[in-house]
């Protein structure tokens, strides 16, 4: 007798594709954290005094804080003294001046990941900053962007070459006191990407950072700062992978976005950190703070994320809607399979008048995965005519997983209109049967239905990313159904 769902039991698990390790000599500070380590990191990067001071303030504040426990995730305590806070591929003398000077092994790594850094091989229209463990190894298309006055470089470079911009905006959206992981990041962050798009400039290509954790026992603490000056536009993509290791690794990044009057920032993430194995061994703890500020009238910040990796994801890309008519958007697909846990969502803080926000969240739980949406929509007193629409849908695949929805809605202005809708469903046997009766395999049918479920989010992604995301979803789901 033919079978509908029981076929799904047999779908074979596909292993994590990016789980290889690159053998490289690395410059790594010994595990542990104290003020000396922070001074060492700052010195290695040749930072100006203000940066060191800022790091130390953050560190001192961090020592007074406790790890948050409110998220719907469970994990053994992290030993923050067992982590190495800096690891860089050993440079031959000075940092690479051009791609030709980059260690060929590194280039090979990125090729394997499908991110060729050689500009001539690049997908037209995407400039890449590659961050390997803690440092930026290569940024492409710099010159072309430079001609428009756009700064796209590693954070370290920005500190050296544009200290006034860094000083002005660093910590202005996520202060070093913000939360436990953000404070830790502020103290020890080693590199990341920096983008500045000047007044009235529309960035002609997608900017992209590719993060890779390689070294063992290191945490990755990158910091991204994107500033779109008045009337500017930029679309930014972020991708992440890590090798397959049995122990957990910590990733505590901070991303700050600043959109001034009439500016627009679109930030897309496809997060595919190593999720751990079927038994939940290993995998990345992804504890990330992402926040954008719409600082002027008509500013717009849009977050789109596809979260399929990491053992634990804890992130809430948020928007402070300060300027009148500002717009915040959050489109999210989060998938948890095996023993993955995700607690993710957003905060939309309506401050200015006539501000608008949209939240579309699609959670998919499979295996023994736990998936929580946690979101805050807050309308402050002065936010006349604020509007929010939230739609949270959960899809459950298998009977051992969990899907949770924790919205917080706080409204202090009577002209506000806030709507929240959430649904939970599973892939129905009827849908599977229907597809299979049309000749489509169970595996393809599941993938098709899940992609259909995520469609509203995928359409927000740039084309190449959307295709990538769909494939990733298929891979991440394999072996999950039963």
């Amino acid at each position: 007798m033919a079978s509908g769902t029981q076929n799904l039991d047999e779908l074979i698990g596909k292993e994590y594709e990016h789980g290889f390790v690159t053998e490289l000599e690395a410059d790594t500070v010994p595990p542990g954290l104290d003020e000396d380590v922070i001074r060492a990191i700052s010195a290695k990067k040749g930072e100006p005094e203000f940066m060191l001071e800022w790091r130390l303030k953050a560190y001192r504040h961090w020592t007074t804080m406790r790890e948050p426990a409110w998220a719907h995730v469970h994990y053994p305590p992290v030993d923050f003294q067992a982590i190495s806070y800096y690891s860089a591929p050993k440079a031959k003398g000075e940092g690479p001046k051009s791609l030709d000077e980059v260690d060929p092994k590194l280039l090979e790594t990125y090729n394997k990941l499908g991110i060729p850094l050689k500009e001539q091989e690049m997908l037209a229209g995407v400039a890449v900053d590659a961050v390997f463990d803690s440092v930026s190894v290569a940024t492409t298309f710099k010159d072309k962007l430079g001609a428009l006055g756009i700064i796209f470089c590693s954070f370290s470079e920005a500190v050296r070459n544009h200290p006034e911009l860094v000083r002005k905006y660093l910590g202005s959206v996520v202060p070093y006191t913000d939360n436990f992981y953000a404070s830790l990041n502020s103290a020890v962050f080693s590199d990341g990407s920096f983008v500045y798009v000047p007044k009235g400039v529309r960035c002609p290509m997608e900017l992209s950072t590719y993060f890779r954790i390689n070294a063992q026992n290191t945490g990755q603490f990158e910091r991204t700062l994107i500033v779109a000056d008045e009337g500017a536009y930029v679309s930014y993509l972020e991708g992440c992978t890590a090798p397959q290791r049995d122990e957990n690794q910590l990733h505590a990044a901070v991303v700050e976005l600043v959109a001034l009057k009439d500016a627009q920032i679109k930030y897309s993430t496809v997060q595919n950190w190593y999720p751990g194995d079927e038994e939940g061994r290993g995998g990345i703890y992804n504890f990330v703070t992402k926040r954008g500020a719409c600082r002027g009238e008509n500013a717009k910040i849009s977050w789109t994320q596809v979260e399929t990796g990491s053992a634990i994801t804890w992130k809430y890309p948020s928007v402070l809607l300060e300027g009148d008519n500002a717009v915040g958007e959050f489109y999210s697909v989060a998938l948890t399979n095996n023993l993955q846990q995700a607690d993710t969502g957003t905060k939309m803080i309506h401050i200015g008048r006539n501000t608008r926000s949209t939240i579309i969240s699609k959670g998919i739980s499979a295996g023994r995965g736990q998936n929580a949406y946690r979101g805050l929509v807050k309308v402050l007193k002065g936010a006349e005519d604020a509007r929010n629409y939230t739609q949270c849908d959960s899809l459950l695949i298998g009977h051992r997983c969990g899907a949770h929805t924790f919205p917080y809605i706080e409204v202090k202005n009577p002209s506000a209109k806030v709507e929240h809708e959430a649904t939970t469903s599973k892939i129905s046997d009827d849908q599977l049967y229907y597809c299979m009766q049309r000749g489509i395999s169970a595996e393809d049918a599941v993938s098709m239905i899940v992609n259909g479920f995520c469609k509203e989010v995928f359409k927000e992604l740039p084309m190449e990313f959307a295709v990538e995301a769909q494939k990733l979803l298929g891979i991440s789901l394999e072996g999950s159904v039963g």
């Binding site: 997983c401 899907a403 924790f406 809605i409 806030v418 709507e419 959430a422």
Partner: protein, 448 residues
């Protein structure tokens, strides 16, 4: 958080003062329970906004004062004529009246109870059937959950005790009036209600909480509802206390297979109000429906906090809460539905809609789903907004002046909840109170 020393001392000495006069004072297990609860209160103190469950409700105003439990009145404080303001016209019912937390037998009407129905005060039940009460009392109380519940167990004076044997249908509803007469601030009453329905039995319970005078008192209620398989209870709670009263209530409900619990909470009074409802859907096909309406103004604060645990398959739960806020009023809705791993085919829906009608009103809402089973139908929706301008315009274009149009729309919004109540007399009674409040005395019919 541990209670501050002076708070502990105050409630300890108040307890010593009353101890021997409290119901069941000579029953060893009751004495032990009261002592243990007082110790738990001392250890827990009152909840603070740092507790996730109390995030939006600051009980500091209660914790900073000392409330003294009302002593038994020396003589009857109320006459029958005083009840007229609180009874429901046209409702043919059994009636129980508690004044300042103690039964007032001369005001009760308990004629013609069917066989197998025991309806009366908890204090009397403790005297008459201590062993029977011992088996039921405390099973669903939230003593470990928060300091208020522990305080209730330590100080409980009286409340309704409604017990039905298997298969008994109590045709007439039971109307319970909890009235307070205090005219000075700082008086506490700790009503304790116990409802236990046997298999397949049925009852309707209506509770009214009201004060005769304006005073900053504390009404701290704990209710326990134990249903037998296939039993049905419709439970109304009409809270009409004075605008200065602090009203903290918690209800624990156990709904086994085939049983049905329907609750309607209507909050019009109170300064700071908390309605906790915890329901365990603990048998195949068990159903629960929680409806709520709060119509607030001034500095009123009402927090509806519900947790529904779906423990067994095929359960159904519905929550439907609506609020109208004017002045500096603030409302909180926290609804959590937890679908446990075995509870397949659960069908749960939560809805919370709020109308914000003034500059300074605030609505916070948290409808939450925690789901550990895959074959379920769960959804929630929440909105905060204003009257629909199109509807207003439509009414105005039909020659209704703006004020009347607004009143009419607000009334319609609120009446959506009242329409869900089964008892017609209660519906008309509430529609009338609502009209007075929302339409400033004008009749709906006059407006149309």
């Amino acid at each position: 958080m541990e209670a501050a020393a002076e708070i502990k001392d105050h409630y300890r000495s108040d307890f010593e003062r009353l101890r021997d006069g409290l119901p069941g004072g000579r029953i060893p297990w009751m004495k032990r329970r009261r002592e243990a609860a007082l110790a738990r209160f001392a250890a827990q103190g009152f909840p603070t906004v740092r507790d996730e469950a109390w995030k939006y409700t600051d009980t500091g105003v209660i914790a900073r004062r000392t409330f003294t439990t009302a002593s038994p009145p020396a003589r009857a404080a109320l006459a029958r004529g005083d009840l007229a303001a609180f009874t429901i016209p046209g409702l043919d019912c059994h009636r129980l009246v508690f004044v300042d937390g103690r039964i007032a037998p001369e005001l009760c009407d308990l004629d013609a109870l069917p066989a197998g129905a025991a309806v009366g005060g908890l204090a009397a039940a403790l005297e008459g059937d201590a062993a029977g009460v011992e088996k039921l009392l405390g099973r669903l109380a939230d003593d470990d959950g928060n300091g208020f519940a522990a305080l209730n167990t330590a100080f409980m004076t009286d409340g309704v005790c409604l017990r039905l044997a298997d298969g008994v249908a109590l045709e007439r509803p039971v109307h319970v009036l909890h009235l307070s007469t205090a005219d000075t601030d700082g008086t506490a009453v700790h009503p304790r209600n116990l409802v236990a329905l046997g298999r397949g039995s049925r009852a309707v319970l209506i509770e009214t909480y009201a004060g005769l005078r304006e005073a900053a008192g504390l009404t701290n209620v704990q209710s326990e509802v134990l249903l037998g398989e296939g039993a049905e209870l419709e439970h109304y709670k009409l809270q009409q206390e004075s605008a200065k009263t602090f009203h903290i209530a918690d209800t624990g409900v156990h709904v086994p297979a085939g049983a049905r619990y329907r609750a309607h909470g209507i909050d019009a009074g109170g300064r700071l109000v908390r309605n906790g409802v915890r329901v365990r859907i603990d048998g195949a096909g068990a159903e629960c429906e929680l409806n709520g309406l709060y119509v607030l103004a001034g500095r009123q604060h009402v927090d509806n906090h519900t947790v529904i645990d779906h423990l067994k398959p095929d359960g159904v739960s519905r929550e439907f809460f609506k609020g109208v806020l004017e002045g500096h009023a603030r409302s909180v809705f926290s609804g959590k539905v937890i679908v446990h791993p075995d509870a397949q085919h659960t069908d749960a829906r939560q809805t919370n809609h709020n109308l914000l009608l003034s500059e300074n009103a605030e609505a916070d809402t948290r409808p939450q789903l925690e789901i550990y089973a895959d074959d379920v139908k769960c959804a929630h929706g929440a909105t905060v907004g204003q009257l629909d301008p199109d509807a207003l315009y439509y009414l105005q274009s039909r020659a209704i002046d703006e004020d009347a149009a607004r009143s009419l729309l607000i009334y319609a919004f609120a009446n959506d909840v009242i329409g869900r109540l089964s008892l017609e007399p209660v519906r008309s009674y509430l529609e009338r109170t609502l009209t007075e409040r929302l339409l400033h005395g004008r009749r709906v019919e006059d407006l149309i």
